[in-house]
């Protein structure tokens, strides 16, 4: 195979294309388990919303629709910069790649910052379930269920974003190191470790931080090369997945029932 990426093809793959397809398929399999995970939460939300439509519409009015809309735009923007980062990596434009990864990180940080402002407002107004929850109206108990689901769903979403930011930090660091040190054609079992990390991180973030530190150390040592862009594509898939989860969280939590009351 007359391909400069041959050095990165593990011995059990025929060629780089087959390896890339296998990595992509594996990442999608992981992401659809995540779809099931959030799907269970969405189902619980639908069941409760159907049982207490008025209380949920009432509680939903306490969410800040302006901040929710801005955050939707911010996250869609970060999906665009992530897609452009993957595009740059496919063309081998390393400095463009780092720029777009940093932009994606920045937008992700803005999203989490706005989310923190919203959470602080809920704390201030005693809308956090269990913590002196106070809600004016006869449907306070049902409203508490709404806010339980609100914090569970947006909190887990934010956790996934933090994981994504961690990945992006490692990628940006790794590639800036590559730019500084130039191209070193050595193959590493990068993507298999990467998979281990993606799966473990979602459930074991603390363990993941340790593994990431180790990954950064390996990247600094030059074990991984910029010529091989599969990890960037995998991080991209993850980031877009987080975007899709929010695309459903936003109308379900913020918008439904907004026209009533």
């Amino acid at each position: 195979l007359a391909d400069t990426t041959t050095a990165y093809v593990a011995h059990h793959f025929d060629d780089a294309a087959q390896q890339r397809d296998a990595a992509s398929l594996g990442m999608w399999v992981f992401l659809v388990t995540e779809v099931m995970f959030f799907g269970g939460l969405f189902t619980a939300y639908v069941v409760y919303r159907a049982a207490f439509p008025d209380a949920f519409a009432h509680a939903s009015h306490h969410l800040n629709i302006l901040l929710g809309t801005i955050n939707t735009g911010v996250l869609i923007g970060s999906s665009l910069t992530m897609a452009l980062a993957v595009h740059a990596s496919q063309l081998g434009k390393r400095s463009t790649l780092v720029t777009f990864l940093l932009l994606t990180m920045t937008l992700g940080g803005v999203f989490l910052g706005i989310k923190a402002v919203e959470y602080a407002d809920k704390f201030h107004h005693h809308l956090v379930p269990g913590l002196h929850f106070a809600f004016a109206g006869s449907d306070a108990h049902q409203a508490q269920i709404f806010f339980s689901l609100y914090f569970a769903m947006t909190g887990l979403h934010a956790l996934h974003m933090v994981i994504g930011l961690g990945f992006l930090a490692v990628k940006a660091y790794e590639y800036s190191g590559e730019i500084a040190h130039g191209f070193t054609p050595s193959a590493g079992p990068f993507w298999s470790f990467y998979y281990g990390l993606t799966g473990l991180h979602a459930l074991h973030m603390v363990i993941g931080i340790g593994l990431l530190s180790w990954l950064i150390a390996r990247a600094r040592r030059g074990d991984f090369t910029a010529r091989y862009n599969t990890p960037v594509e995998m991080v991209g898939l993850y980031w877009h997945f987080v975007d899709i989860v929010w695309i459903f969280l936003f109308p379900l939590l913020y918008l439904l029932g907004r026209h009533t009351l």
Partner: protein
């Protein structure tokens, strides 16, 4: 797992087009949420959300350019998700029909 050999990717114009469409659909869903559409508020919001998710998956996540096997895995997963949601919801929404399980 070998692909069909074609690894085409979206152009920059496609990425920016999807971004603009996603932003427009976000504005549309916020506007629609304040309209009195009767029973149609929820279907409209969910249809817009599904459209946005499809755009992200097909273009940003390259599903349209992926091997057919990947597409089959993703479609099958959403089939299972549909079973999860439809059967769970049909259970809860019909409990009141049977006095023995009511509430």
């Amino acid at each position: 797992v070998s692909g069909d050999g074609s690894h085409r990717h979206p152009t920059l114009a496609a990425y920016f087009g999807v971004f603009a469409t996603l932003m427009a659909l976000t504005a549309l869903t916020v506007w629609a949420a304040f309209q009195h559409l009767g029973i149609w508020n929820t279907p409209v919001a969910l249809t817009i959300a599904v459209t946005k998710a499809l755009l992200v998956a097909l273009i940003f996540m390259h599903l349209r350019y992926s091997p057919r096997l990947t597409a089959i895995v993703v479609v099958a997963a959403f089939g299972w998700l549909a079973i999860l949601i439809v059967i769970t919801v049909s259970d809860y929404l019909t409990r009141a029909w049977l006095p023995i399980y009511a509430r």
